[in-house]
C-alpha cells in the first residue's frame, strides 16, 4: 500500500490539532479571564454526603441493607397500593407490573425498564408521592425486590442488596439503542 510520507505528516498535524481542540474546553472564553474567579466555597465531604443520593447502573452509590419480596409486599400494600393498585398490575395510570411478553402493551418495570438500579433510585428519591424521601433503605430494597419479583425478573426468595441488585439483567435492556437522529435531510 502506498502512503506518501507527506500524507503521514499531514495526518500527524491533523491529529495534533485535533488534540489541541479537545483541550480548548478548559481555556477561558475571554483571554483576560483569570484561571479561577474564586467565587463559591469548597464543598466539605459532609455537605456532599448529605446531598449525594445518586446510584449508578454498576451499583456505585447503593447503600448497605437488604430486603425481600415478602417484606416488600407488606410495605407496598401500606404505602403504594393506593395509587398503583393492590398487585401493581391493575390498569392504573401508574401501572408497575406487566412481565415481558404481557399483551397489555403498557410500559412497566418488567417490559421496559433497562436497569434494576433505577427502580431502587427512583423509589428512594421520589416515592411515595405523598411522602417523598420518607422510606428507609431497607424498605426500598424490599419494595424493589417485590416489584422485580412481581414482574418475573427475580425469584421470591432473593434477598436483594448492594451486591446482587446491579447484577440483575433486565429483560428490556437488549432493546435499548442510542439516538440515531443526526439532522440533515433524513427522517429517523
Amino acid at each position: 500500500m502506498l502512503i506518501k510520507r507527506s500524507s503521514c505528516y499531514r495526518v500527524a498535524v491533523v491529529m495534533v490539532l485535533g488534540m489541541l481542540a479537545c483541550h480548548t474546553n478548559t481555556r477561558p472564553p475571554v483571554s483576560d479571564w483569570p484561571s479561577r474567579f474564586g467565587f463559591g466555597k469548597t464543598a466539605t465531604s459532609r455537605q456532599i454526603d448529605s446531598l449525594n443520593i445518586s446510584i449508578a447502573p454498576d451499583g456505585k452509590g447503593l447503600p448497605s441493607g437488604s430486603g425481600n419480596a415478602a417484606t416488600g409486599r407488606t410495605i407496598y400494600l401500606a404505602k403504594c397500593a393506593a395509587c398503583h393498585g393492590e398487585t401493581g398490575a391493575e390498569p392504573t395510570p401508574n401501572r408497575l407490573v406487566a412481565p415481558m411478553g404481557d399483551t397489555s402493551r403498557v410500559k412497566t418495570i418488567g417490559n421496559y425498564w433497562p436497569y434494576a438500579t433505577t427502580v431502587f433510585d427512583y423509589i428512594r428519591r421520589a416515592m411515595p408521592f405523598n411522602a417523598p424521601g420518607s422510606l428507609s433503605n431497607e424498605e426500598v430494597y424490599s419494595l424493589t425486590a417485590f416489584l422485580l419479583y412481581r414482574n418475573e425478573v427475580i425469584d421470591s426468595t432473593v434477598l436483594l442488596n448492594a451486591v446482587n441488585l446491579p447484577k440483575i439483567v433486565m429483560p428490556a435492556k437488549k432493546y435499548y439503542v442510542d439516538d440515531d437522529r443526526r439532522g440533515g435531510n433524513e427522517v429517523r
Binding site: 466555597k41 446531598l51 449508578a56 417523598p132
Partner: protein
C-alpha cells in the same frame, strides 16, 4: 424615588379624605349606568388575529372578565363608552393586561400549555411559559439556595445564588420544548392543545463552562448528573460535552428573576435539547464517567421505534412549525389573509418555512421575520388571497442542517406504527371551511 414623588405620595396619604379611588369608583358607577342599554360596550377582538375578523369566543379567552382589580389598587376593569371623557387609571406598581385580553395556560395534572393562538412574535410572556413538573413547583428561599458541583472534579464546590451572579453573565434567546409536545385526536383543537409545550424566553445566567473551569472538571469525565430540588428530586444525565459547549445555569428570564414554575432561583438551560433535560431548581451536578440511567432517561423520555427498539438519549429537538393564524377557534373571511406562525429547530437556525394553501399540493416560501436566531422560535408570514373555497393550509420548517419537518406519514414510515409519543413533530394542517371556520386536521396515528 425623587423628592417630587415622595411629596406627591405624602399628599396622597395625608390629604383630603376623598381618596382618588373613591372618586374613580363614583365615576365608574355613573359610567356604568350610562352604559346600560347603550351600545357603548364593545366586544374585544379575539387576540392573536387582525382586528375586523370575528373571534369565536365560546371556549376561548377573549371575552372580558370585568371582576378583577389591579394589584396597585386602581380599578382597571371599568369600561367607559368614551375613554376621552373620563380620567384613566393612574400609574401603578405592576402592569396589567387589558381586561379584553385574557390569554391563559391550559393546565392538566402534570403540565400547562402556552396559548399560541393568542400570542404574537417570538417571546413567550413569562406567566404564559409552559410548565411541566414531576412533583409540583417547590418554593425555594434564594438566601438558602446552593448549587453543589462534585464528582470527577479537582475541587468540589458549593455556589450560592449570589456567587452564581458574580460570574460573567450571558444572555440567550432560545426556546425550551417538552419532547412529549404533540397531541391530536379531534378537529376542535387549538395550537395550544396541539403543541403548547414549547415556549421562548431570554435566559440570563452563567455559562456552565465557566463553573466547570472553576471546579476543574476531570478530563475523563464524560457525563454529569443534573439534580433538581423538587419533591421528585428530578435527575437527568447529560454529556459533559454539552456542558462545555453551550449549557447555562440560568437565574434570569425576560428581564427578571426566573419564575418559580421555570426553576426559581436557578435552572439548567440546554439550548435545543428536550425540555426534561433542562433541570429546574437545580441543586447538584455530579461529574462522572458513565450515565446514571435515571428513571426519566430510561422508563420515560425514551421512544419505541422499529423492530421493538427503544431509542434513548434523544436530546435534540428536531425542526417544527405551526400556523397560529388562522387556527382554531379563529374565524376568517374571504379575501387577503396573512398566514402567521412560528418555526423552530433544536439543531440550529430556521433556514426557511414553506407554506401550502392547497392541502400540500404546492408550497411557497414564507417570509421569515428577523431575528432568526439559533435554536429559537422564528416568526413567519405568508400573504395569501383566499377565494373562499374550502381548503387546507399547512407549514413545513427546514433548518440549516437541511432537515425538513416530516409529515406524520413519514414519521410512521421511519419509526413504525408502534412509535412512542416523544419527538413527534409532524406538519400540522388546518382546514378552512366555506363559512370561514378553521378546524384542526387530526392526524391518524394510533
Amino acid at each position: 424615588m425623587t423628592l417630587d414623588d415622595k411629596e406627591n405620595e405624602d399628599k396622597e396619604n395625608t390629604g383630603k379624605k376623598i381618596p382618588r379611588r373613591t372618586m374613580l369608583r363614583a365615576a365608574a358607577v355613573s359610567a356604568a349606568a350610562a352604559l346600560m342599554g347603550a351600545s357603548g360596550v364593545q366586544r374585544a377582538p379575539g387576540a392573536g388575529q387582525p382586528a375586523g375578523s370575528n373571534a369565536r369566543t365560546g371556549n376561548t379567552p377573549g371575552t372580558a372578565d370585568l371582576s378583577g382589580a389591579a394589584p396597585n389598587g386602581n380599578d382597571t376593569t371599568q369600561i367607559y363608552a368614551d375613554p376621552t371623557k373620563n380620567t384613566g387609571t393612574l400609574p401603578g406598581k405592576l402592569g396589567t393586561r387589558s381586561p379584553y385580553e385574557q390569554p391563559v395556560k391550559k393546565p392538566s395534572d402534570i403540565s400547562s400549555r402556552t396559548p399560541f393562538q393568542d400570542l404574537y412574535g417570538i417571546i413567550t410572556p413569562s406567566d404564559l411559559h409552559f410548565e411541566r413538573s414531576h412533583a409540583g413547583v417547590p418554593r425555594i428561599d434564594p438566601e438558602k439556595y446552593e448549587l453543589l458541583i462534585h464528582g470527577m472534579v479537582e475541587r468540589p464546590m458549593v455556589f450560592s445564588l449570589r456567587d452564581l451572579k458574580r460570574f460573567p453573565a450571558v444572555s440567550r434567546i432560545a426556546f425550551i420544548e417538552c419532547s412529549g409536545n404533540f397531541r391530536s385526536g379531534k378537529e376542535t383543537m387549538t395550537a395550544q392543545e396541539i403543541c403548547g409545550l414549547t415556549s421562548q424566553s431570554e435566559w440570563i445566567g452563567v455559562m456552565l463552562s465557566t463553573l466547570f473551569r472553576e471546579v476543574g472538571v476531570h478530563p475523563k469525565a464524560t457525563w454529569f448528573l443534573a439534580e433538581g430540588s423538587d419533591a421528585a428530586v428530578m435527575t437527568r444525565s447529560i454529556p459533559v460535552e454539552k456542558g462545555w459547549k453551550d449549557a447555562m445555569i440560568a437565574y434570569g428570564q425576560n428581564g427578571e428573576a426566573i419564575r418559580p414554575e421555570q426553576g426559581y432561583p436557578a435552572r439548567l438551560f440546554l439550548p435545543g435539547w428536550e425540555g426534561n433535560t433542562n433541570v429546574k431548581w437545580i441543586r447538584r451536578i455530579e461529574l462522572s464517567d458513565q450515565p446514571f440511567m435515571t428513571r426519566e432517561e430510561t422508563s420515560k423520555y425514551t421512544e419505541t421505534i422499529r423492530d421493538h427498539k427503544i431509542r434513548q438519549f434523544s436530546f435534540d429537538m428536531d425542526a417544527r412549525s405551526i400556523i397560529t393564524y388562522p387556527s382554531f377557534p379563529q374565524q376568517v373571511e374571504k379575501g387577503w389573509i396573512e398566514i402567521r406562525g412560528i418555526a423552530w429547530s433544536g439543531r440550529g437556525k430556521i433556514d426557511r418555512v414553506e407554506v401550502s394553501t392547497d392541502a400540500g399540493k404546492h408550497w411557497q416560501k414564507a417570509v421569515l421575520q428577523e431575528p432568526v436566531l439559533d435554536k429559537a422560535h422564528t416568526y413567519f408570514r405568508h400573504l395569501w388571497y383566499w377565494d373562499g373555497k374550502p381548503t387546507e393550509i399547512m407549514s413545513l420548517a427546514v433548518d440549516d442542517t437541511g432537515y425538513r419537518q416530516p409529515t406524520m406519514k413519514q414519521l410512521i414510515q421511519a419509526r413504525g406504527t408502534d412509535m412512542g409519543g416523544y419527538h413527534v413533530n409532524p406538519v400540522t394542517a388546518w382546514q378552512l371551511k366555506g363559512d370561514g371556520t378553521v378546524l384542526f386536521k387530526p392526524e391518524k396515528w394510533k
